[in-house]
Symmetry: C2
Subunit: 329 residues, 2 copies
């Protein structure tokens, strides 16, 4: 499973085990309250199939007793009927996933058996401190027949000793994959390399796959993704036009332009961006690199302050810098 640093020959070739997951609706949904049109989601589904993408994440499985359905688009809840409206029985090579957050998902009731669902994989999102709850969700999903992953958020803020214990717990669980999640976009490639090797040590020991989900606060989402790939990380998150919370994610178009597996096709991705992503931006949906996100990324903190600032269309960056400096003192 582990590969050494890419040699020139490996850089020219490709690794079959790499799987690309499109998280546009799920992470992108965080910036438009999941209010995508059916046309958008259907075209994205068709585009992912044409582009050779391996997984498409349709959204969250949020607890309806905690979140009001009127306050969000349907992809925060991913009702089976809504999924079927888009994908039918999904008789394609594209697998489908949903994300379930620790503490925000009534998984025992709301996640049905895989035999009755179009969904193939459940991705459990957790902080390192809530690992037992995450593992309970993972075991529940696995028993129901799903592939499972654990996405350990905010890894840049986790104590490394805690992370070691959490990784060992996951190693001993039935989870299939574990993701490095740089929620704050604060990590640089050298750190991604070190963290990747920590995760891959666990993966080697227990027979798991490792994934990466990067944010673009320092224009490093793509670079950090390449770095992880080079070390042997195989499960790769990306979004169209980098759409995602705050500074956004690793852009699908950059990733597919880099990967050499001939099954991946860039043209349909470019076409989709032309047809749909520009429209979202024109409608006022905000995401992508900017100075405020750079600042929260450099300070290794949650982007919420930068999001609020950006939504106000403010440009007094030096005041924002001082504000974040004050928050950290």
């Amino acid at each position: 499973m582990r590969n050494d640093k890419l040699t020139p020959a490996q850089l020219m070739g490709f690794r079959e085990q790499i799987k690309v997951l499109d998280a546009t609706v799920r992470d992108g949904g965080l910036v438009n309250s999941f209010r995508f049109t059916d046309e958008f989601v259907r075209d994205l589904y068709k585009t992912n199939i044409k582009a050779g993408v391996d997984y498409m994440e349709l959204g969250y499985k949020a607890d309806k007793t905690m979140f009001n359905e009127d306050d969000f688009g349907k992809w925060k809840f991913c009702n089976e009927d809504d999924i079927r409206d888009i994908v039918g029985d999904n008789d394609t090579d594209l697998k489908l996933s949903i994300m379930a957050d620790v503490g925000r998902c009534d998984y025992k009731n709301d996640i049905i058996d895989r035999a009755n669902s179009a969904i193939d994989m459940i991705r459990v999102a957790t902080y390192v401190t809530t690992m037992p709850a995450a593992i309970d969700m993972i075991e529940d999903a696995a028993k129901k027949g799903y592939e499972t992953t654990c996405n350990i958020m905010a890894v840049s803020n986790a104590q490394e000793s805690d992370l070691d214990i959490a990784l060992d717990m996951l190693g001993k669980s039935c989870v299939n994959g574990v993701y490095i999640v740089d929620s704050f976009g604060s990590l640089v490639p050298e750190q991604i390399k070190r963290i990747s090797n920590k995760y891959l040590d666990m993966a080697d020991k227990y027979g798991k796959q490792i994934g990466i989900h990067a944010h673009n606060n320092q224009q490093l989402a793509f670079a950090n993704t390449i770095e992880a790939l080079s070390e042997g990380v195989n499960l790769i998150d990306a979004t169209y036009d980098g759409m995602g919370r705050g500074a956004g994610n690793c852009a699908m178009e950059l990733l597919l332009g880099f990967l050499k597996n001939p099954k991946y096709k860039l043209f349909p991705v470019v076409k989709f961006i032309e047809q749909h992503m520009n429209k979202l931006r024109e409608d006022g949906v905000l995401w992508g690199y900017g100075i405020p996100y750079m600042i929260t990324g450099q300070f290794n903190q949650h982007p919420r302050e930068a999001i609020a600032y950006t939504e106000q269309h403010k440009k007094d960056y030096s005041e924002f810098y001082k504000h974040i400096l004050d928050m950290n003192s």
Copy 2:
């Protein structure tokens, strides 16, 4: 001179030999025909001093018999009087450079002795195929008392065997530094690593410094710069807000946020961006990452097609993709 791959301790520390060069007026000038206000250039000069930047490049030394002075701002020509208006005798720690292009500079006449100039360094820009002309310019500048560098453009299109010969010629010359220039923004960190090591082999043999000038077509300008730094490259180009031709350059604010030498200060850079760079964008000056630049970068070709396309404010990316595909077949 050569450092091995950064260890965690090296990542936390810093390397004294690293020198940051601000190329905003020079590379940024390519997108506004060098029409910066004096206030902009003066504030940038003061900001570079406050930020601890090591060099500031003021523009080109273009041949006035080839280029009409009315068609460009003054920083395409860098008259000594214009420089003195901004910097006086430059009694500061900030060194000043200008760029001289092979074939576009009447260097024997237009570059005066350093003793009579505020300029400290001449950077000679060349393709790998015009190395004898570049070396003649370098020897001329060195004789006049300047520090000198050679910036080998479009390295991604150079034959590696030609590059080896060119590097050896430079090694035997009196040049102080040699830059890796990814003019098309087509290189990924693994390639930068390989190229850095080729240049550093020459540097070790002949006692030179190596530099990097990256473009952001694939959102990799900062990442490629970090990669080169990690390998032992010490001369680093950056521009405020990434301003530069096409997709722009490595952003100064990202770079100074990354470098750990306490002499570098981020706050004045953020302040300058707030006060000046947003205004340039509002005035219609175009630079920065976009899908057309990604496409020319991935195809390893000059960004001129993407620049023309972007200036027309077109968004039919799939047509542009096919156009570039056709050009390459």
